[in-house]
């Protein structure tokens, strides 16, 4: 799914060179759920930026879903990003004066779908996160957890191959964090590849693979012990509204 | 005051600073030249014409009926007009003529002394001398000052149709050109014998001051059909009442006249420079708009950069800067920009002045004008940025610790 070979990302200013990523190699297979940990300033964000095609790299190779990324034009990169990747940010990053529907709809606008197709996808994504009935609400009318779920719906609307999540539960209380993690796990069960940056060691333990980035280099921890039964809720595909606790 | 640091911080935002500097420069350039136009026009309007502008009333009129083709009829009406007008309280003297001072061209003739017929080759203004048809009261109505001889009198009015050489009165500048310092009395020109010289009156403001050539002959009654203007010399304080009655007085004598206008000679001077005044006014209007737009830019510029610098200002406050220090810091940044703008503005003002001079006549800028314009720029700019600057100085130090 995602192959990085000897990626280096160097930030240069007048006097100093910073190796944000050095000799970084990683292979992610389809369907994996990876947690990325590491101290602040270690290069986690840079890794996510490069993986998400938001930033370029100075040397090495990167293949995403079989497509070699070097040498692609901005248009091609954007297309790739739009079709293959879904982003989930720590502070949700919803547009405050758009409705939920319009927020989820945003990435689809750049795909060239017609109105009917977009509507279908938005409704499907909102179903999946259990917020179909709130389509006309504004973000300010929802709780933090619900907003993050909307953000997840937005990431899903384009049916991406891979989800990149940057501390998705960082701004949520433990109950809502739990629900969001459950959603992510269930998506992963259905086959979505997920790479998640987190500071929470419990979250890191719950996934199949851990990666630690220190000083721009990777330390790759392979598969943990299988998850305990009682640490998971329902393995169903979606969380129904009635079970979620609204703030 | 760390000038180097200020300049560095301005260099970080070259684009917006550059735009503002350009705007300031253009504003200054326009300010200076508008002021020049306004001052030039004011100077033109304060021209000393040589007569008492405020107390001379003119009525310009034209008969509408064909009856006036009978010149005797015309004359009788005109004579009665003059009589009735002179009876109005406050009127010192009345006259009638075909031409007024402060005019463009008019009836012209060439004038040369018979002993020196080639003189008009050396002085082109001798080819176009104002030829003014007058009668004996014109001097007192206009308030001409005699410097030699006498003005026209009844005896100078020859029989109608006569070919005899006439008597004429000339202006001082014409006399100087024709005869230098010697007396002009009794000299014979192609237009007649000189019996008097009056002190110069500005006949055409666009001619040089020493070329206000004019000739007066007592023929207005003979050619009454060009007697367009009644000239009334009015006692100070009576202008308003005479002005309100003049037209009716004339129409009461005979109603088939078109009263074009009733105006003082002061009005006439203003009218002559109407277009100059109009252009100066337009430029001042534009200045006002430009200062407004530049002030908006200045405000937006400060607002924008202050918003970005909020955290750093908080840090400064946390480290001990007082509110006044911050205020001065913000204002000084702005003043540096204004200074740069004004320096460039001097070049723009000079350049624009040269460009405008290709199309209109205007004076060169002087230092005083620059100083005034620069102060206007600084004052309006400071006023524009006062509000954001003041708000910034109130940024609390605690901002420095915020991470979001």
């Amino acid at each position: 799914m995602l192959i990085m070979n000897n990626i280096a990302r160097i930030y240069r200013n007048e006097t100093i060179q910073t190796h944000a990523l050095r000799d970084f190699s990683l292979e992610v297979k389809a369907g994996e759920f990876i947690a990325v940990t590491g101290p602040s300033g270690s290069g986690k964000s840079t890794f996510l930026n490069v993986a998400g095609l938001l930033d370029t790299f100075d040397s090495g190779e990167y293949q995403l879903d079989g497509v070699s990324v070097q040498g692609l034009s901005d248009n091609q990169l954007s297309k790739l990003r739009n079709e293959k990747i879904g982003f989930i940010f720590q502070n949700y990053n919803l547009i405050p004066d758009y409705s939920i529907f319009d927020n989820v709809d945003m990435p689809l606008r750049y795909r060239g779908f017609n109105r009917a197709e977009r509507k279908r996808r938005v409704e499907k994504a909102l179903e999946k996160v259990g917020l179909a009935s709130r389509a006309s609400y504004l973000p300010s009318q929802l709780s933090g957890g619900q907003q993050q779920r909307v953000a997840i719906a937005r990431a899903l609307a384009g049916e991406p191959k891979i989800l990149l999540a940057d501390e998705p539960t960082g701004n949520l209380d433990s109950l809502m964090a739990r629900q969001v993690m459950e959603l992510l796990h269930s998506l992963n069960q259905e086959g979505t590849t997920i790479i998640m940056v987190t500071h929470d060691p419990d979250q890191a333990r719950e996934v199949s693979r851990n990666i630690q980035i220190i000083d721009g280099e990777i330390s790759d921890f392979r598969i943990y012990a299988p998850l305990q039964e009682n640490q998971l809720n329902d393995k169903e595909s979606h969380i129904s509204d009635k079970e979620a606790v609204d703030a | 005051m760390n000038l180097k640091a200020l300049i560095k911080s301005l260099m970080l935002r070259k684009f917006t600073t550059g735009l503002l500097i350009l705007q300031l420069a253009i504003t200054l350039g326009l300010l200076v030249n508008s002021a020049i136009l306004a001052l030039d026009t004011r100077e033109k309007l304060s021209l000393s014409v040589g007569i008492d502008l405020d107390n001379i009333l003119i009525v310009s009129t034209h008969p509408t009926s064909g009856n006036y083709r009978d010149l005797d009829y015309f004359r009788s009406i005109a004579t009665e007009d003059l009589a009735k007008l002179s009876q109005l309280p406050g009127v010192n003297s009345v006259s009638i003529s075909n031409h007024l001072p402060v005019s463009h061209r008019g009836m012209m003739s060439n004038v040369f002394d018979l002993d020196n017929p080639e003189q008009e080759r050396t002085d082109k203004y001798l080819k176009d001398v104002n030829y003014i048809l007058a009668e004996e009261n014109l001097a007192s109505s206009m308030g001409f000052t005699l410097i030699e001889g006498r003005f026209l009198n009844k005896s100078d009015q020859l029989d109608f149709g006569s070919d005899t050489k006439r008597n004429m009165v000339i202006t001082e500048s014409l006399k100087n050109t024709l005869y230098g310092d010697s007396s002009a009395l009794g000299q014979e020109t192609n237009n007649g014998f000189i019996v008097g010289v009056i002190k110069d009156v500005i006949l055409d403001p666009s001619n040089p001051r020493d070329k206000q050539y004019g000739v007066f002959v007592n023929t207005i009654m003979e050619y009454i059909f060009v007697g367009r203007y009644y000239i009334l010399n009015v006692e100070p304080g009576h202008m308003a009442s005479v002005r309100s009655k003049a037209a009716d007085t004339i129409l009461a004598v005979q109603a088939e006249r078109d009263i074009f206008d009733v105006f003082t000679m002061a009005d006439r001077l203003k009218d002559y420079y109407r277009d100059d005044q109009g252009l100066a006014d337009l430029f001042i209007l534009l200045c006002g708009l430009m200062i407004l737009v530049t002030a908006i830019s200045s405000y937006a510029y400060s607002q924008f950069h202050i918003a970005r610098q909020k955290k750093y200002i908080g840090i400064r406050r946390a480290l001990g800067a007082r509110k006044i220090d911050i205020l001065l810091y913000v204002l000084t940044e702005n003043w540096l920009v204004y200074t740069l703008g004004c320096i460039l503005g001097i070049a723009v003002a000079l350049g624009f002045n040269i460009l405008l001079s290709q199309h209109i006549s205007l004076s060169k800028p002087d230092l005083g004008l620059f100083l005034v314009a620069v102060s206007i720029v600084f004052i309006s700019g400071t006023l524009a940025t006062w509000f954001p600057a003041n708000k910034t100085s109130k940024v609390p130090p605690v901002i420095a610790t915020k991470t979001v």
């Binding site: 938001l54 954007s78 739009n82 750049y110 | 509408t64 064909g66 430009m290 737009v293």
Partner: protein, 427 residues
């Protein structure tokens, strides 16, 4: 996508209404002012009779009888010179005229009110030469006769706009019959009388045959010059009184050459008779050349136009600053859209759509302002009152100029917005 971008642009405007209002306001004032000036300049510099301006020629000659001429050549002619011109059959049409003025009244009316009217005393060729538009009746066909053609405005004033052909006017005590009435006739500039600062006057109220006016003694109301004294226009036929202007319609270059030869031959004959002391200098100037020679474009308006160009630059810089701060404030959303897959091109198109929409709004406002400024301009420069009209082509110029200024204001801000680094953090 266009609809979406338009929707996004409107949302953007709603988010910062005062800023966008300022941008639209300053751009529309700048463009409006420039447009008003351009309208004036265009009126002054335009070709008033494009269908035949290449074929109509003003005739200046150098027949001044002594060696102290006013100008060489002189734009006004003596009666004998002018008659020589009308005698020639080389021009398709010719017109010889002078300007006068009378007071006019409906002869049958009991009302004694008379209207001050501008008169053109002319040979009949004038009407065909100038393509004068006839509404009722026809032009007079001879140079004499007690007939007149009147203009649209005078017809409105005296006869309330009806067909007044056949009615009689009392002009200065004489009775003349109306044989033709013109349609509204606007010549900008008034090419047939471009001298003496009259290029922006309206067309005349009354057209009368030349000989009739001379015989009735209707005085000359424009430049006249003579070497002898004369008691009135009645006496000018056989004297050296220069006051008539002459135009000829010459259909092609051959005719022009032939007519030039004709005039030069005439001047030569005068020279041979010892009556032409100056050099032979007969000049034929077509409409546009003649207007150029007479320098009719008001320099004051040009000066103000230059100033308004500078003002427009200031407005563009101002808009650019404002837009930059706006785009910076919108950085977050730009980053977000880029993250979810919008390319640089998509964001550029979004920005351009906003600019174009701004430009259109500013364009409409600027046209209203241009119209307003033109109305006001006659307060400041009254001589130009007849020119202050907003022609259709200026409307197009206004819109294009607004679009251009809106887009150029946005160029650098868009470029900067493009270069913001996008990050997964999106703070």
């Amino acid at each position: 996508m266009l609809n979406y971008n338009l929707k996004l642009a409107l949302i953007s405007f709603k988010r910062a209404p005062s800023l966008y209002f300022l941008v639209i306001l300053t751009l529309s004032i700048g463009v409006g002012l420039l447009c008003a000036n351009l309208a004036l300049v265009s009126s002054m510099a335009s070709d008033p009779i494009p269908e035949k301006s290449e074929k109509l020629f003003h005739i200046s000659m150098n027949t001044w009888p002594n060696d102290q001429p006013n100008e060489e050549p002189f734009h006004i002619l003596r009666y004998r010179d002018a008659m020589k011109i009308t005698e020639s059959d080389i021009p398709k049409h010719s017109a010889v005229f002078y300007e006068s003025g009378v007071y006019a009244r409906d002869a049958e009316s009991t009302n004694l009110k008379r209207f001050d009217s501008k008169v053109r005393a002319t040979t009949p060729g004038f009407f065909a030469l100038t393509n004068a538009p006839i509404a009722y009746g026809s032009a007079f066909s001879k140079s004499s006769g007690m007939e007149v053609v009147i203009g649209h405005e005078l017809n409105n004033k005296i006869f309330a706009g009806e067909n007044s052909v056949g009615k009689v006017l009392e002009l200065d005590g004489e009775l003349l019959m109306i044989v033709g009435v013109l349609k509204p006739w606007h010549l900008r500039p008034l090419f047939y009388h471009a001298t003496e600062g009259r290029a922006f006057n309206l067309t005349d109220d009354i057209f009368v045959p030349l000989e009739t006016a001379i015989d009735l003694g209707w005085s000359i109301h424009a430049r006249s010059s003579s070497t002898v004294s004369y008691k009135g226009v009645k006496f000018t036929r056989d004297r050296n009184v220069f006051y008539l202007q002459a135009w000829a319609e010459l259909e092609n270059q051959n005719k022009v050459t032939a007519f030039q030869q004709y005039l030069d031959n005439y001047s030569q004959s005068l020279k041979d008779a010892g009556e032409h002391p100056l050099d032979i200098r007969n000049e034929l100037s077509n409409v546009n050349d003649w207007l150029l020679e007479n320098d009719i474009v008001d320099q004051k308006v040009l000066a103000f136009t230059l100033a308004s160009v500078l003002f427009l630059c200031v407005c563009i810089f101002n808009a650019s600053s404002l837009l930059l701060s706006r785009f910076h404030a919108a950085k977050f959303e730009v980053g977000l859209r880029r993250a979810i897959g919008a390319s640089n091109r998509d964001m550029l198109l979004q920005g351009m759509t906003e600019s174009i929409l701004l430009g259109l709004f500013a364009g409409i406002a600027s046209l209203l302002l241009a119209w307003l400024f033109l109305k006001l301009s006659s307060e400041f420069l009254p001589d130009l009152a007849n020119l202050a009209v907003l022609e259709p082509k200026l409307l197009l110029v206004g819109i294009l100029l607004s679009l251009f200024t809106a887009i150029s204001s946005a160029l650098y801000p868009l470029y900067r917005a493009n270069r913001y680094t996008i990050s997964a953090e999106l703070k």
